[in-house]
Subunit: 308 residues, 2 copies
């Protein structure tokens, strides 16, 4: 792999900050995005699961994307999530993102109906491609069965790559199952595969992955970017072990509230803790437990969090 | 129970017909709704799972609700589904429905995030109640773990009934688990409980349920309404056995495509077969198998399907 293409490396599914009344804190979101890029993120997978995107209205998503781009962040650094349950909504969000010049979209399959057929998943994506009808469209398939239940099987990926080779170019694998990631990497060397956790970063890079897209990159992006720069050098395994240990600590808690609690603590901005229902903020006890675990690992969020 | 209250009896989650290009066939939808009411439906739970509501955009849902009410169907006969993943969308759909004078809304919990806490489910519903902020709001909780994964536990129901006794008044139980239905009926005698299948109709009525809301009521509502009228009379068990056998036959197939195939065959309108991805139409072979099974049960859709 090569890291000189901007669409490779660590993409952060940027957390969406809310105010106490649950309104999106747009200014803080833009600040957070800029901080992540300054820390070494190669791009931002805004409106992912970690971003609580499915708890945002589609108008909120469009507005926020405009705001991010208006702040000067390059559209080519953005891979917004646009997959909804209803194809008309997915098409509207995707078209908007493409027209704004984003790198590509991270596409969930429709996720309400369960146990749908491969044919149904294929038809959903094909319908979006046809309806968007824009040669600039680039799709990264978003495989996250723990949340969406519906995922992309190898046969579906194969069929999509065959029929839309210039459009379907990548996949984020948030199955949490390295065997699946490896199977996808082996079966489709042309696909740009991003494991959904930095715990699989080094193994992924060694097997042909192009980076990672990870919730915990919201709090540890500099170290992840460092491993991406140095993964062929001595010491890579030790760096991976550190990343994995930190990830494991955060993962002992619900990851979104945990990462928000970490940012609240590091920035001194208590509002960072706010999540939209059905998620709940981390309890004070859990936040203290997490802080102790991270301290034991000598971890602290980069002091460059000076913007907050 | 008493069936003289209009909000009791059989509510049909009306199938949404599409044209070949997947556009909603609004005229056919209105015809279908009127036919169901003429056949004996007490009301219509439009925009349920069976309606492919989560495959419709929210604008499509609002427009279709206007169209149904504009056709002369009483708003008090309607229990539209309004639950989305994002609270702002749920609030917008719910407020629209309440302003149009519907009987109540059938409310899914936010269903993207999985393994959320009871506290998170409670907070989601409480937030909707507060934001809609309309004393006319009546909520029927929509418990359908096979699709939504997220459901309403007994402790959540208890807390909602305690805090919103004039607002949260009913529950549709589509768990498919009679033990759960019975537990809800026993724990909350004041709640209007609708089993999600007519297979549980008689058992439900005998235990305090107020009717049922069932996918297969789209093709068999007259017989269901008949049992609702006569459930205390001799012969009720035999009628239940017939309903259950027909339901069992349809359930051997994906229920939404199967019910649409049945309406296509009965009406001669092939477009009835169209579903939106991720669902797929029933294959010709499966439709023939289903037709044979139904014929063996002496079942045919009421000849009053003359509207088609």
């Amino acid at each position: 792999m090569s890291l000189d293409r901007p669409q490779r490396g660590v993409f952060v599914p940027a957390l969406t900050p809310f105010k106490q009344d649950l309104a999106v804190d747009e200014a803080r979101f833009v600040e957070h995005c800029k901080w992540l890029l300054a820390e070494g993120a190669n791009g931002l997978a805004v409106f992912g699961t970690t971003s609580e995107a499915n708890s945002l209205s589609n108008d909120e998503r469009r507005h926020l994307l405009e705001r991010v781009i208006g702040s000067g962040i390059a559209p080519r650094a953005l891979m917004p999530g646009t997959g909804c349950c209803a194809i008309p909504e997915t098409v509207a969000l995707t078209r908007h993102a493409v027209e704004r010049g984003v790198l590509g979209v991270l596409l969930l399959p429709p996720f309400y109906y369960k146990n749908v057929s491969d044919d149904g998943v294929y038809a959903s994506i094909a319908e979006v491609v046809h309806r968007v009808g824009d040669a600039r469209l680039r799709i990264y398939l978003y495989h996250i069965p723990p949340m969406a239940s519906v995922g992309f099987s190898l046969p579906v990926i194969e069929r999509l790559l065959r029929d839309f080779p210039d459009t379907v170019i990548g996949l984020k694998d948030s199955s949490g199952d390295w065997n699946n990631t490896e199977a996808v990497l082996n079966a489709f060397p042309e696909l740009e595969v991003f494991p959904g956790s930095e715990a699989f970063l080094l193994a992924g890079l060694r097997s042909g992955a192009v980076g990672c897209i990870s919730a915990t990159a919201n709090v540890n992006v500099a170290a992840i970017a460092d491993l991406l720069r140095s993964w062929r050098e001595p010491g890579a395994d030790a760096k991976q072990a550190e990343l994995t240990a930190i990830r494991a600590a955060v993962q002992k808690f619900p990851v979104i509230p945990a990462a928000k609690a970490m940012l609240a603590a590091a920035s001194g901005e208590a509002d960072w803790k706010v999540v939209r229902p059905p998620l709940r903020p981390l309890s004070a006890e859990a936040a203290a437990d997490l802080a102790r675990m991270l301290e034991a690992l000598d971890f602290s969020i980069a002091s460059s969090l000076a913007h907050a």
